[in-house]
């Protein structure tokens, strides 16, 4: 009884949500107080009806539990990265520990010292030279203005938590990180994932920091609705004056989902193209429904658009980003015709949308990409979102006029994919396979069938001598060849095999000597 009275008089008392009548007041010498409290109660009851039921229940639970026992203290868990799973490039070599991305895991080695240390994680490039030099490939059209990432690194932590803070310890020329994302997949679990979501925790334009001194970078991150132990940092070093060096990443989070009172509703980002593949899926329905109306002539109803020349509308649409193009295709038949015109898809960059690209999306785009000349699928398809069969069917449909193919960090690629590329893209001049380190050395022999190849990037791949020699023999027009970090990693097995071979050779020599002696 006493508790309920207290709850009534408290500003957030919503016990009225259950519709109980107020108890009779035990203090008749305060009629004003009685009137006021009744008035207040009625107002609150109205408010509770218009508010969400869930919120009311939760706050009530909070208030009640607050009076009986202390609120359960949600302990914040602080973790350093356990393992570096994937990255696009690094300064160090594959056999070394110096300046390699694997230094980002574990506790910091160098922080808070500033300077150039070999125990830090350093990306391959900095500054603008790589984009301004004569051999740099031209930028793809329709790159969304918000996409600045040049490199990325994916880190796995021990325990999935709801993140409250992410801290990056940068030790030299900080300020290169442009995006932090979290994944719903647990990379250490054995279950096959059903739905992999990537959520952007924080994102910004690249900035130039005034001093190259070490700093602890802790941006305000968005609250997400799933626990995560897989983070992805995306980096842009073009404004840096020297290599940016990272030492460690700390993930702070809570184990249980934060209660609604502490839960900040995420700001809905209107410019975030989060539904491009849904649009693409809707496209199929739109196409099939509109196909039936082919007999009717296209006239009126499009206003001034009917008076504009076809080419002018095409020119206008060429300034749209890909998700906007797909959304525009759903607006009316005329614009649908324009948006599906293959001339709009001579250059296609799907790298900014790597998190949402799937086999289905590729399938929907297939029909429009007959005149495709430059295709960028870098960073896409990891963790099962793209399969070799989906890629193969796309290449078979769109490979004929393809001139440039960017497949950097595409871990879904298999030997069969490269074989299909060599068969379906006879005119291919540029091929980028950097950091495709899961491709078997045998796969590279198919590249020698691309006789018109001019530019080949094999940074951090496992190509071997035989494949390389055949490429050099048959690709007569080759002008640019990047074989950075193509080293052979010595493993224990190989050393044992070498020792066994040496022993066999010695035995053979002894046998020969014995034979000679016998003779």
């Amino acid at each position: 009884m006493g508790i309920r009275l207290k709850a009534l008089l408290a500003p957030r008392a919503l016990t009225s949500a259950k519709g109980r009548a107020p108890a009779c007041q035990p203090a008749p010498q305060f009629p004003m107080l009685t009137l006021l409290s009744m008035f207040y109660y009625i107002c609150l009851r109205r408010r509770s009806r218009s508010g969400t039921r869930g919120e009311a229940l939760n706050s009530r639970r909070a208030v009640e539990s607050g009076q009986r026992t202390a609120l359960p203290v949600t302990l914040e868990v602080e973790q350093y990265a356990k393992e570096v799973l994937d990255f696009s490039s690094h300064y160090g070599s594959e056999n070394s520990m110096s300046y390699t991305m694997w230094n980002l895991a574990g506790v910091p080695n160098v922080y808070p010292s500033s300077g150039d240390f070999t125990q830090t994680a350093v990306f391959r490039a900095y500054g603008t030279w790589w984009e301004q030099c004569a051999s740099a490939p031209p930028r793809f059209r329709r790159t969304p203005p918000g996409f600045h990432s040049q490199d990325y690194i994916e880190l796995a932590f021990e325990e999935p938590v709801y993140p409250t803070a992410v801290e990056v310890l940068e030790t030299y020329y900080p300020g290169a990180i442009v995006q932090i994302q979290a994944c719903s997949l647990n990379p250490f679990s054995q279950n096959t994932p059903t739905d992999i979501r990537w959520e952007v925790l924080w994102s910004a334009e690249p900035t130039k920091v005034l001093t190259p001194q070490a700093r602890q970078f802790s941006p305000g991150i968005k609250q997400i609705s799933f626990p995560t132990n897989l983070l992805r940092l995306e980096v842009n070093s073009s404004l840096q004056q020297y290599y940016t060096e990272l030492d460690a990443v700390i993930l702070r989070g809570v184990r249980e989902r934060p209660i609604l009172a502490l839960y900040k509703m995420p700001v809905i980002d209107i410019s975030d193209p989060s539904d491009s593949d849904e649009e693409l899926a809707d496209m199929v329905a739109a196409i099939t429904s509109q196909d039936g109306d082919d007999g009717k002539p296209h006239n009126a109803g499009n206003g001034y658009f009917d008076r504009l020349p076809y080419e002018l509308i095409q020119l206008m649409l060429s300034h749209l980003t890909l998700p906007d193009l797909c959304r525009l295709a759903q607006s009316c038949k005329l614009l649908h015709q324009h948006c599906c015109d293959p001339l709009q898809y001579t250059q296609l960059s799907l790298q900014p949308y790597w998190a949402r690209l799937s086999d289905a999306s590729l399938g929907h785009l297939q029909g429009r990409c007959g005149l495709l000349q430059r295709l960028n699928l870098s960073w896409t398809g990891n963790r099962g979102t793209l399969t070799p069969s989906g890629f193969n069917s796309f290449m078979k449909a769109c490979g004929l006029s393809l001139v440039c193919l960017e497949l950097s960090c595409c871990h879904f690629l298999s030997e069969a994919c490269l074989e299909v590329v060599s068969q379906t893209c006879p005119g291919l001049q540029e091929l980028n396979l950097s950091s495709c380190d899961r491709l078997h050395p045998q796969a590279f022999t198919h590249i020698s069938k691309l006789s018109r190849l001019r530019r080949l990037v094999l940074y951090r791949t496992k190509i071997e001598q035989t494949a390389l020699l055949s490429i050099l023999t048959f690709c007569m027009e080759l002008r640019h060849l990047n074989l950075g970090s193509c080293v052979r990693k010595y493993s224990e097995k190989e050393e044992e095999e070498e020792e066994e071979e040496e022993e066999e050779e010695e035995k053979k020599k002894k046998k020969k000597k014995k034979k000679k002696k016998k003779k």
Partner: protein
């Protein structure tokens, strides 16, 4: 008759061999370090585990215990290069390699090679020279794997007797084999040995074996019998007694080094080479004393 005896011997050997391998206890090394830098800074830990131009490390990985000593060659000081930097960085790098498990316990030369390779990755060239000696105990197989490049070395003592020792590698008198990184231009002139030139050895160890790893500051000043005398005082396997013994050995060597009349092993060797020299050899002394004990977490 003879064939029965030989057959019996074979069977006995096989049985005993099989039995010894079922000993599943892991061994470990209880190690203590002590030393003196040449410039009277008695055991001052500069950058941790550095004594003058010498450096050492003690590390533990998942499957092995690893020790290392390195002796920086002092001649570089005349050219403006700090010789302690090379040896200290070499030992820090080897320690990091061991802690990250990037080595094979049975192949300690690999640690030296990888460590030297990592030094070459430095953007600012790390100039200098150093000898090196690395000792790896494979905990489960009870085997000690060692490699030595130069005149540092190790002794394995069992029941008061030296059962194994390393050989000094020298090009000529007072010029040991050494790893080096030279300034560009003088690479052909400066003495530089490859890590592959290191001597490797492997042998089994037993509980209670004492392993003394040290730089030439110790071996050039104290002959074996003096070292063995000090080691007789080590009877337990706890860290404090090991540290005490290491300290006493290092101090005795330090005292002998500055004795002008004492006929040290260095002076003996010099006389054998035709130089009329007496007295100890003032040098950086680093002593890593370990005893093989059972593995406890």
């Amino acid at each position: 008759m003879l064939s029965v005896l030989s057959y019996g011997r074979l069977v006995a050997r096989a049985v005993l061999g099989g039995l010894s391998q079922t000993d599943g206890r892991d061994y470990s090394l209880v190690t203590a370090s002590y030393g003196f830098g040449k410039d009277f800074r008695k055991g001052v830990l500069k950058k941790g585990m550095c004594y003058g131009d010498d450096a050492c490390f003690i590390a533990r990985s998942r499957a092995a215990d690893v020790l290392g000593v390195a002796d920086g060659v002092g001649g570089w000081r005349d050219y403006g290069v700090d010789p302690s930097q090379f040896s200290a960085t070499l030992m820090r790098t080897c320690e990091r390699l061991v802690k990250e498990g990037r080595f094979t316990p049975s192949h300690p030369v690999g640690i030296l090679t990888s460590g030297y390779y990592e030094l070459l990755q430095n953007k600012v060239p790390l100039l200098g020279d150093s000898t090196a000696c690395i000792v790896v105990l494979d905990r489960h197989r009870h085997r000690l794997h060692t490699c030595n490049l130069g005149d540092s070395g190790f002794l394995v003592v069992r029941a008061g007797e030296v059962v194994h020792r390393s050989d000094e590698q020298q090009h000529y008198f007072n010029t040991p084999f050494q790893l080096s990184i030279a300034p560009p231009g003088v690479e052909g002139v400066v003495l530089s040995d490859s890590p592959d030139a290191a001597d490797s050895a492997s042998f089994d160890v037993q509980l209670g074996d004492i392993i003394l790893t040290a730089t030439d500051g110790l071996f050039d000043n104290m002959p074996d019998y003096m070292i063995l005398q000090e080691l007789k005082k080590l009877k337990t396997t706890n860290y404090d007694s090991v540290l005490q013994t290491a300290e006493s050995i290092a101090k005795q060597a330090h005292d002998l080094a500055y004795d002008p009349d004492y006929m040290s092993p260095f002076a003996q060797f010099a006389c054998d080479n035709g130089l009329n020299v007496r007295g100890g050899k003032p040098d950086d002394i680093t002593v890593l004393l370990s005893i093989v004990a059972e593995y406890t977490d």
